[in-house]
């Protein structure tokens, strides 16, 4: 009789899709599948997802992965661990039934609530206690919005939970949230590691209307019998709560300790570092998210990543075949390569979706600046890419007010386009490392599970075992070139605040 080999399955409940991956104990990926679900925008600032569709998509993908790729190869699923995007809120009634759709991180309906709170002295107190910047993305603000605008639904809501809490509850029956996701709600006190009384009072709720807090290594118990049968699992498969996509991408990129930052650029982007202390930013521009006690991820998010270049490609790229965005992007990149660094003085502010760090201005807009008669189409292409990366640089510069950053680890579909990675190295003037296996969120989830299983002594050791070869070296000359333009970029992004607000009112 052959003995079954152990494996770990990771489930990422992402912004657009669920990704299910399987790893063997050594960390080699042995299977992966994804299934996407839509985001609905019933009104301009709204961004919602159907919790049942996410659940059924997750279940369908997990079942297909297990029955097609894992069970036939005689693997035993040792552990299943979750990650999810941050800041989602789902209201459920006393029977646990969702009251409408889940509100995602990208939802801006609480703009006014956020603005008011930001002007009040409470905001400083809340930021210090919870580590989450005051912004419409924050569940604190979203719940407050519901209290103000959806009184009936607010009254009917027995719990406000995250999408991940809902999915895990469906599978196991337990209402739990891990410290990581909870620390991104603006409702958890990250020093005391419990729900923050003042923030809850402001939102108009008590602890019983939130899920129970638990460590990232905690287990909600096994899947319900019916799901075990469906998936061909037994009660010996351990289920782990896991963490958030941002925190797991950070450790999955092999970043631990002070000197290294992670740059993520997918549709949106972020720059993050890990440390053992909570970081205080006087101007409240950076987030502090918890992984475990004494382990914090801090950094700044941007709304405007690869999605902005996709927008550009859709408007101005060449299309030979319908919907062939990949090809169009490839062509644009090779055109951009022919233009000198700095795009001949053409600057682009990429704030098409408003902006979070570092300017935290939901009214910010896109700007092409400095256009002259000599500029051609390809200058606009390169300027667009440079603008997106200047924005990343401005976040890393902000982080450097608190940490010395010696090198960058990069992941995400936009950041890992070789042209963009080199540009990033040049603009930031730092060496850049890339992991071969680019799915950092899943790999971080694997590291977390492997640590829980005792394969690594602790998270630090797990992360340090990740090889991070430095593949891109900065070109000094280019960097000083970019810095001349970046100075103007930086000034423009704050200087235009009044005009951004006026034009927002007109749009």
């Amino acid at each position: 009789m052959t003995t079954k080999r152990d494996c770990i399955v990771t489930i990422e409940l992402g912004t657009n899709a669920v990704r299910v991956l399987a790893f063997d104990i050594a960390g080699t990926m042995i299977g992966s599948l994804k299934g996407s679900y839509p985001t609905f925008h019933s009104q301009p600032d709204y961004s919602e997802q159907d919790p049942e569709q996410i659940f059924i998509t997750m279940l369908y993908v997990l079942k297909n992965l297990l029955t097609e790729q894992i069970h036939p190869k005689k693997y035993k699923v040792n552990c299943i661990c979750f990650s999810a995007s941050m800041h989602s809120v789902l209201a459920i009634d006393k029977k646990g039934v969702p009251l409408g759709n889940a509100i995602t991180w990208a939802d801006n309906r609480g703009k006014k609530e956020a603005q008011e709170l930001n002007r009040s002295p409470l905001s400083k107190k809340f930021y210090q206690a919870t580590g989450t910047p005051i912004h419409p993305m924050s569940p604190l603000v979203k719940i407050k919005w519901m209290k103000n605008h959806e009184k009936e639904q607010f009254a009917k809501t027995s719990k406000f939970i995250s999408i991940k809490t809902y999915i895990i509850q469906q599978l196991t029956g337990e209402y739990l949230i891990d410290y990581s996701l909870a620390s991104a709600t603006g409702l958890m006190n990250i020093q005391q590691m419990k729900w923050d009384t003042d923030a809850l009072y402001y939102a108009g709720i008590k602890t019983d209307r939130l899920p129970t807090l638990a460590p990232v290594f905690a287990s909600p118990g096994p899947f319900k019998k019916e799901y075990q049968t469906l998936l061909g699992l037994t009660s010996s498969t351990k289920i782990l709560l896991g963490s958030s996509d941002g925190c797991l991408a950070t450790i999955g990129s092999g970043v631990w300790g002070d000197s290294k930052a992670v740059v993520t650029i997918e549709d949106s982007g972020a720059v993050r570092v890990i440390g053992n202390k909570i970081m205080r930013d006087e101007k409240r521009r950076l987030f502090n998210y918890v992984i475990t006690e004494n382990c914090y991820v801090f950094g700044g998010p941007t709304n405007n990543g690869g999605l902005i270049f996709e927008w550009f490609a859709n408007q101005f790229g060449y299309f030979n075949r319908p919907f062939d965005l990949e090809h169009s992007i490839g062509e644009l990149i090779s055109e951009a390569e022919k233009v000198e660094a700095g795009s001949g003085g053409l600057l682009f502010l990429p704030y098409l979706l408003g902006e979070r760090a570092p300017i935290w201005n939901p009214n910010a807009k896109g700007v092409y600046f400095g256009v002259n008669i000599k500029h051609e189409r390809q200058h606009f292409i390169r300027a667009t890419i440079e603008g997106i990366l200047y924005e990343i640089y401005s976040i890393s510069k902000l982080l450097e007010e608190h940490r010395a950053i010696k090198s960058l680890a990069v992941h995400g579909s936009f950041a890992t386009i070789p042209f963009c990675t080199q540009l990033l190295a040049d603009i930031c003037n730092k060496p850049v490392s890339l992991r071969k296996n680019s799915d950092s969120v899943a790999f971080g989830t694997f590291l977390l599970s492997a640590t829980e299983m005792g394969i690594y002594k602790n998270l630090a050791e797990a992360v340090k075992a990740v090889p991070t070869p430095e593949l891109y070296t900065p070109q000094k000359q280019q960097h000083s070139n970019y810095m001349k333009y970046f100075k103007i970029f930086e000034r423009l992004s704050t200087k235009l605040a009044d005009e951004f607000e006026d034009i927002s009112d007109l749009q």
Binding site: A17, L33, K34, G35, S36, Y37, P38, T39, D50, E52, Q53, F55, I56, T57, L59, Y60, V61, K63, I92, K94, K95, G96, V97, P98, S158, K159, Q169, Q170, G173, K224, E226, Y227, T229, L230, L231, N314, G317, F319, P322, F323, L325, S328
Partner: protein
């Protein structure tokens, strides 16, 4: 072409074609007040502009029509002009009592239902620069007036052709052919709004403006599922919501969410969730109760 007017019942040219209500070409050289008030009819009305500019209201929305434009007014939709009269110019029209039906048409039933779906869901009643339609109108006229050998087959074939070309043009006009996620979201909303319909891959592909093979490949890459499996995730997630509501019976849920029967629903539901619909309703609700 000269002016003509063929009407069902009074023009012998239409004797063999009971589905053609009216076929005409008009050169409007003067303004007749109160001659073109807004109104709906039970017929499918197609107008092809030959000359001039026409300002019309279709379903209470203003449209300007120029030469070579084709307007499609479906049964029950309103057409008229704010000014109450027909502008000066030339135009040709064809009124049919139904979509090409089994009697004269050679379009396969499945393809016809796709064409109908595309026309029904079409938000743009005017197709601009649609010269092919003009050629078909011209051929149609010579078939009906000359009645040469085979005119019966040819006339019906021309009408078939007009609808097929129209459906193709509409699917291409309906999207920019660039942003797939956006086109797919539009499709998703359409699917959700008529979930009880038995969607085929051809219909879905048509709405996005792709052939079925290219569509299937795109959907697979984008969603991870084949189009029909993706549709199942929507059907089941809607079914779960209805099951949790308790006030609608399982058979009604099955039909409302697009399953052939409650048996088909139960099998699919069990395969995906591990529960039969009624088990799911019973167990999940009792286990989840927070009180």
């Amino acid at each position: 072409m000269n002016q003509f007017l063929l009407q069902q019942g009074s023009s012998k040219e239409l004797n063999a074609f009971p589905h053609i209500i009216e076929f005409a070409l008009k050169k409007n050289t003067s303004i007749h007040l109160d001659s073109f008030r807004s109104g709906a009819s039970d017929h499918i009305r197609l107008f092809y502009i030959i000359d001039g500019k026409f300002d019309w209201q279709i379903q209470q929305k203003p449209y300007s029509l120029y030469p070579d434009d084709l307007a499609i007014i479906l049964p029950g939709q309103t057409l008229g002009s704010d000014k109450g009269y027909l502008d000066i110019g030339s135009l040709c029209w064809l009124h049919l009592d139904t979509y090409p039906a089994s009697t004269g048409s050679k379009i396969q039933t499945g393809e016809m239902s796709t064409v109908r779906k595309i026309l029904d869901l079409n938000a743009m009643p005017v197709v601009s620069k649609f010269r092919d339609a003009g050629n078909i109108f011209q051929d149609l006229k010579s078939e009906l007036f000359n009645q040469h050998l085979g005119f019966h087959t040819r006339t019906n074939a021309l009408i078939d052709q007009l609808f097929i070309l129209l459906a193709r043009v509409l699917t291409q006009q309906n999207n920019l052919q660039r942003d797939f996620p956006q086109a797919f979201l539009k499709l998703e909303n359409t699917l959700r709004s008529s979930l009880s319909h038995q969607w085929t891959v051809e219909e879905m592909a048509g709405l996005v403006g792709l052939g079925s093979t290219a569509f299937t490949e795109r959907v697979k890459g984008f969603t991870g599922f084949s189009p029909l499996n993706y549709l199942i995730t929507i059907r089941i997630s809607e079914a779960i919501k209805l099951l949790k509501r308790q006030d609608i019976n399982v058979t009604d849920i099955a039909l409302e969410t697009g399953f052939y029967s409650s048996q088909h629903f139960a099998t699919t539901f069990k395969k995906l969730t591990g529960y039969t619909p009624s088990q799911f309703r019973k167990n999940i609700i009792s286990q989840n109760n927070l009180q």
